[in-house]
């Protein structure tokens, strides 16, 4: 496998060499996706050939499969376009709970874009984050799109960029959009210091996607094209609801799906915030583990609230306080947003209000 990849790289190198003398640039000749599994990684996104040259940047190349998640992470209302590619003849191994076991060479691409704020305008593509399964593990590579929107450049530490967004009331909102640096990518993607994808789990992929050749369930489609082995039929695979579609699941299930994808990457065993003692993973049903009547103990300023989660009392729950805040020291997630997710907050608030029990009388006494 790795030999095949090296060969491919060598071929590309030769192609580059001849292209260089003819055109002064490389990447014009080969049309297949090129996987890089070790440093140095390409400086330009176009060198991966994930998207068809000369077309809109988001038209996937041969073998690049778009995908979507039932409930995604909130990122300042950015639209996200996700793609997966695997080396020919390889496939991911299905897993019921965690992320799939992807082969070396896998490329997961996620592009962040903001729709035009006026009718004549164009969608603004800001960044494409690649998560590449390299020889020694997953590597996070943030590519930042140029102003001309023709290509993106690898920037391990990118500058923040101003984007605009049309709010619900029609006003145009300016956002200081922070592109995470590659260490910050790890902050969310690490589990026990191993970088891993977060989104492509069975429960999150188990939905239909409108492929060019017709709508199909993603698990079935990945299996059909050879990207997934060992998956059961879609209706016997786990599935989380879409957080914002009431018909897709109960209020509780949708909230748990939201917390699973917005909080659990850190707040779970092995995650960056394991030490907090709360676990937002979808796969347990212990309210206490979600922070019910639990004092945070070592979390610093918590808005004057005592417990992580107070059943029946959203206003006294630190969970909601942190979701609503946009201050660096208070907000959760700590990185990846500069706005509060109004609709997500509303969902969690509604669910908290339905819970019964409260935390009893708040007793405070001296040590």
């Amino acid at each position: 496998m790795s030999w095949a990849v090296s060969t491919k790289r060598f071929v590309v190198f030769i192609a580059c060499l001849s292209a260089l003398t003819l055109t002064g640039s490389c990447g014009m000749f080969s049309t297949d996706v090129t996987s890089f599994v070790e440093e140095p990684f390409p400086k330009q996104l176009s060198e991966w050939r994930l998207f068809v040259s000369g077309s809109k940047p988001m038209t996937p190349n041969k073998g690049v499969v778009p995908y979507d998640l039932n409930t995604p992470l909130f990122s300042d209302y950015a639209d996200k376009y996700r793609f997966v590619w695997m080396p020919a003849g390889t496939s991911a191994k299905y897993s019921e709970d965690g992320v799939f076991d992807f082969p070396v060479g896998t490329v997961l691409a996620k592009t962040f874009a903001f729709p035009a704020t006026e009718a004549s305008g164009k969608e603004r593509i800001v960044e494409t984050r690649l998560l590449v399964h390299g020889k020694t593990g997953w590597v996070a590579l943030p590519y930042v799109w140029n102003a001309e929107q023709t290509d993106a450049r690898l920037e391990l530490v990118a500058n923040p960029t101003e984007v605009t967004r049309k709010a619900d009331d029609g006003s145009v909102q300016k956002i200081n959009y922070i592109i995470p640096n590659s260490n910050e990518c790890k902050q969310c993607h690490d589990n026990n210091k191993v970088t891993l994808p977060i989104g492509p789990k069975a429960r999150n992929l188990n939905k239909d996607f409108p492929y060019a050749d017709g709508a199909a369930n993603q698990l079935a489609y990945w299996t059909k094209v050879g990207y997934l082995k060992g998956a059961p039929a879609a209706d016997s695979a786990p599935k989380v609801p879409a957080w914002d579609k009431a018909e897709s699941g109960s209020l509780e299930a949708r909230t748990r799906a939201y917390l699973d994808n917005n909080c659990a990457h850190c707040h779970q065993p092995g995650g960056s915030a394991e030490a907090s003692g709360v676990n937002f993973s979808f796969t347990h049903s212990d309210l206490r583990k979600l922070g019910a009547c639990k004092m945070p103990n070592s979390a610093g300023y918590s808005g004057g609230h005592q417990y992580d989660l107070v059943p029946g009392n959203p206003a006294e729950s630190i969970l909601l306080f942190r979701m609503e805040s946009t201050k660096a020291k208070e907000m959760m997630p700590e990185i990846g947003r500069s706005l509060s997710h109004k609709e997500g907050v509303a969902l969690v608030r509604e669910w908290l209000a339905t819970l019964k029990g409260g935390c009893g009388e708040v007793k405070l006494a001296a040590k």
Partner: protein, 421 residues
């Protein structure tokens, strides 16, 4: 000849190309004080990302402004400034990330640097093994208030941690906070003007020595709390420290755990076993120089079944006490209740008298502490049988073992008087 030179020039072209386009050189910009704040922030973060085992990142003299967390994940890296008065990483107005510096890497050393006004914690290491923090100053320049960052130097879930010759001021929760960690030494540090000076929370095998805690609300706190994944903290030695005049108002809001720390507490030993406190000077702390208590005094319902709220096997010997309890913290009702029961000034050592049911060898031993005053305030029976008699506690416990760290050449002392007299 000609074909050969063609090949040669192609190779030269190719290598030029490789340098200019196919690789992504980062971390190469010099960290010069002539860079703009944005450039310096970017250059330093790039260096931290590009760092490999053995890398030494030298920070120049100067004051450098950051608006987001600096982070390190590469193992084996040293960050070195020009001194904690000379190289200042300033985070006032930080807009992104909580910590000033966030480290998740093994074999990490940071020395001779200051971190000021981080939005959240100053320097946090998480899940890291072999951490050395030397001559680092973390400070909030505003007067102590609840909006300062919570923790100054904060290793959590870390192992083999050495913190020495460092300084923290202004932390809204704890200056030095060792949490859920094991095998650690904190020595020759100074904490002043924090809510808690030093905290050892849910940790195992820790030596705290030759530190100074002054003008905090509380000096040195050794304890276990429920609802944290790492439980069973024990084996902590606190010796040769100066814990004097920790009477700063506790500014924490009522909702926070640390609110329950009385202002004017020197040394706190709570809900932990196997603690040795010796050769310290513990003076002029206005609630009490020391207390030894269970977590039950917190009146919190304990839902964490893995948590043991009792305190046992605490050996307090050869300390110098004086000037305790002249002005107990009137903010806390329970402090007032204890003060009423035992009288003022409060004695040097307060003990709540709670013993784990069924525990046969649970001991609190007080030896050779000079003219120490003592009270068991009988918390279990609402202060009915307050006892000032320390004779019951004339016992000894085996000395705890000195902590050794792989990165530390010097030998720490063993307790000469421990287990003896």
């Amino acid at each position: 000849m000609k074909p050969k030179s063609l090949v040669l020039s192609a190779l030269i072209l190719a290598s030029t190309f490789a340098l200019n386009s196919c690789s992504a050189p980062t971390g190469e910009a010099a960290l010069s004080s002539s860079l703009s704040p944005a450039e310096f922030q970017k250059a330093l973060q790039e260096k931290l990302i590009a760092a490999k085992s053995g890398s030494v990142i030298e920070l120049p003299e100067g004051r450098f402004q950051f608006d987001k967390t600096l982070s390190l994940t590469a193992n084996g890296v040293t960050i070195r400034g020009k001194g904690m008065a000379k190289t200042v990483l300033a985070f006032k107005g930080q807009t992104a990330g909580s910590a000033g510096m966030l480290v998740k890497a093994n074999d990490f050393t940071i020395e001779d640097v200051a971190i000021e006004d981080a939005a959240g914690d100053g320097l946090k290491t998480e899940g890291s093994t072999n951490v050395t923090i030397r001559r680092v100053r973390v400070e909030w320049t505003a007067a102590l208030n609840e909006k300062n960052g919570p923790y100054g130097i904060y290793p959590v879930t870390s192992k083999n941690v050495l913190i020495e010759d460092s300084f923290v001021k202004g932390a809204a929760d704890a200056g030095f906070y060792l949490g859920q960690s094991e095998n650690a030494i904190m020595r020759r540090n100074r904490a002043e003007g924090n809510v808690a000076g030093f905290e050892v929370e849910n940790c195992k095998n820790v030596d705290v020595y030759e530190n100074t805690a002054t003008n905090n609300s509380g000096g040195i706190l050794v304890f276990n709390l429920p609802d944290l994944p790492v439980q069973g903290g024990e084996k902590v030695r606190v010796y040769n420290n100066q814990v004097v005049g920790n009477n700063a108002p506790n500014v924490a809001p009522k909702s926070q755990t640390v609110y329950n720390l009385p202002s004017g507490l020197g040394v706190s030993v709570m809900a932990i076993k196997n603690v040795e406190v010796f050769n310290n000077t513990i003076k002029d702390n206005n609630t009490a120089n020391m207390h030894i208590i269970s977590y039950l005094a917190m009146s919190q319902e304990i839902k964490d079944k893995t948590y043991n709220p009792f305190v046992s096997n605490v050996y307090v010997h050869d300390n110098q006490f004086g000037g305790s309890g002249k002005n107990p913290d009137a903010r806390l009702e329970s402090v007032l209740a204890v003060a009423k029961a035992v009288g003022q000034p409060m004695p040097d050592i307060l003990y709540d008298g709670m013993v784990e049911p069924g525990a046969t060898d649970a001991k609190i031993c007080l030896q050779n502490n000079g003219e120490v005053t003592f009270a068991n305030f009988d918390a279990a029976n609402q202060f009915k049988k307050v006892s000032r008699d320390a004779k019951k506690h004339q016992c000894t416990l085996p000395a705890l073992t000195a902590i050794t760290l792989p990165q530390d050449g010097t030998k720490s002392m063993t307790s000469a008087a421990g287990g003896g007299k």
